[in-house]
């Protein structure tokens, strides 16, 4: 019974990692860059949602939409100001800029919302389900998080597979120059990717803080790094991979905390990552691309 409880806890946090990882994976797959500021966009989304519910007194669903709106605009602005001018330069320059944006967002949040933590009120009002005389408890947050991340994954898969914009994204991801020659507006496609990625970040932020209520300017950074790990584990660039990687990471983390050691859980998680990457360098569901020389 205990195992089940830990599994559920693991899936719950893993589903949050999965949504964050989806954002990483999309941006990486299409713009071929690691957006390290993604974790901090999550934090901004959570703050916006917090402000809308606590200061304006509006219902939770409005706050989520507001957070998505603000994050989408923020994502587009970041892309236009920080990343677009560097397109075509070395990937290292873009990476460093992304780290810079991450610090910028954290410090800006510290100025606006102060460093003292806020307690996020969960947007889920459902009562927890108690099974087996309360020995197994499934909270509403778990159900909502898993459901939403599954929906987002299916939605994204359909979007990239069926719509014109989605197909353009895939084209840019495969070969940017060829896509441009085919008449695809690469800049616009990348902007759209950032917009979608940031809107996902807002959802992730709200779900993350509904599961783990402490909201601080640094809230997004650690989950961001874990989600990045999850994306690599699942195969970066792959949408189902991000989902699988996120849930696996959450489960491994929780089980190793529960049965092996709470202090070494990170070491265990990352050892698993190393072993998987040694066996499958492209990640679990990543495509092995043959380099032709």
């Amino acid at each position: 019974m205990q195992v089940l409880q830990y599994l559920i806890n693991g899936i719950s946090i893993g589903a949050v990692y999965a949504i964050i990882a989806l954002g990483y994976t999309m941006v990486y797959g299409i713009a071929k860059m690691l957006n390290f500021a993604h974790g901090d966009v999550i934090m901004v989304g959570a703050y916006i949602s917090f402000c809308v519910t606590n200061y304006l007194g509006l219902p939770a669903i409005v706050s989520v939409i507001a957070a998505m709106g603000v994050c989408t605009i923020l994502g587009i602005i970041i892309e236009k100001l920080a990343y677009k001018p560097l397109r075509g330069t070395s990937s290292l320059a873009v990476l460093i800029t992304a780290i810079g944006v991450s610090y910028f967002l954290q410090n800006a949040a510290q100025l606006i919302w102060s460093s003292s933590p806020k307690n996020f009120t969960s947007i889920v009002t459902m009562d927890p389900i108690a099974l087996f005389d309360g020995r197994l408890i499934i909270t509403g947050e778990v159900l909502v998080t898993v459901l939403i991340s599954a929906l987002v994954m299916v939605g994204l898969t359909l979007f990239t597979g069926k719509t014109k914009t989605g197909k353009a994204m895939r084209a840019v991801s495969e070969d940017r120059d060829a896509a441009q020659l085919m008449g695809i507006n690469v800049n616009q496609t990348i902007s759209t990717t950032f917009a979608i990625g940031s809107a996902l970040a807002a959802i992730a932020g709200v779900l993350l803080c509904s599961t783990v209520p402490t909201l601080m300017p640094t809230t997004g950074s650690m989950p961001g790094i874990r989600a990045f790990t999850a994306a690599v584990l699942g195969g970066i660039g792959s949408i189902p991979g991000a989902m699988l990687g996120g849930i696996l990471l959450g489960i491994i983390e929780t089980l190793s905390k529960a049965y092996l050691s709470t202090q070494f859980s990170d070491a265990i998680v990352f050892s698993v990552l190393i072993i998987i990457l040694l066996v499958k360098p492209a990640g679990l569901l990543g495509k092995q691309v043959q380099e032709k020389v």
């Binding site: 830990y6 510290q110 408890i137 402490t214 529960a258 709470t262």
Partner: protein, 416 residues
Amino acid sequence: MKKFVALLLAALMAVSLFAGCGASGDEGTTPQTEATGSASGDEGTTPQSESTDSANAGSEAPALKIGMTGPLTGSTSEYGLAVRGGMEIAVEEINAMGGLQIEFRAEDDEADGSDKAVSAYNTLKDWGMQIFAGAVTTGSSLAIAAETVNDQIFMLTPSASAADVAMTGPNIYQMCFTDPNQGASAAELMAQEWPEAVIGVIYDSSDAYSSGIADGFLSKAEELGLNVAVDDAAFTADNKADLSTQVTQCKDAGCDMVFLPFYYTEAAQVLTYADTIGYQPTFFGCDGMDGILNVEGFDTSLAEGLVLMTPFDANATDEATVSFVTKFKENNDGKIPNQFAADGYDVIYALYDACVAAGIDGNTPAEEACQLLQEQFATLTIDGLTGKGMTWDENGMIAKDPAAVVVTDGVYVPLG
């Protein structure tokens, strides 16, 4: 013409050099204006104030220079600003009394454990600091402590609680409990009030404060024969985002008392999760838990019944506390002082009492003041906001009665 251009360039460069100095000195300017502000604040009440203002030019003894460093900006600024606020009130009160005058200056160390803290300390030294009343955080205090030993400057930290701080040298004293002592007194309190409890301990193994208390608690609990069912539910700074596993472990082990020796940030998370899964043990926190009721968005009903050890209760009705809280609120936009502010206040009064007894004033060199203060602190007894009859042992660690409160209807009520 060429000469003129060259001169102009040289002049520009010189100006830019000064501009650079101005920018780096900026941090010091704000507190300094405040220091003069507090000195001029008593202009109306005491005739002596003029000599304080022009301290260096005056023929009387200049004001005693006390310096403090703490995080005034950044993620832990809450603590630094609270300590500074408490100290400023004490300085204002003392200067208004006449007699020994104090000039106070605070520098920002950003809670950094290395060069930033030391450079903040050096700035104070250049200013002519005679006594050091910092630093606020343990990391910065450890970095500065070694320097004060070399410089022979007396150090009384308001809130750096690691035992290592006091052990660095004979000139270093603490106003707050050391971590292991706090853990031990928590165990004693539990043995007294809840001898039958099944206890679970969750702590942050990557944090010196939290693990220090947990170690002190566990060894004392063993000595007292307490029933500790879970003692390894630790977390680290990197994985503290999700504490549900640790709470579940305590629940499964049947703990009806959970000891949480860490800061309220994570504690809010533990309380929220426990409520979600319907787990209702007695939660027991330490002084880092103080502030949990002020977390924005936190449902205070979740903290109902929470026991915490805190040396200071802003709701207490004794005269000293009420007056302090009123003044603090006036100076800080209605903010309620926490124990850090009270520690800061007590530090200044402890130093003041010792200086008056030893005859230290603005003319006493720092090394001499250090010697005299060490002699004073060996026998000094202080009644302050954070305790009555406080004394210090030969290591510079404080001895005072631990006080605990229970959260009842959203406010602190003394335990027992």
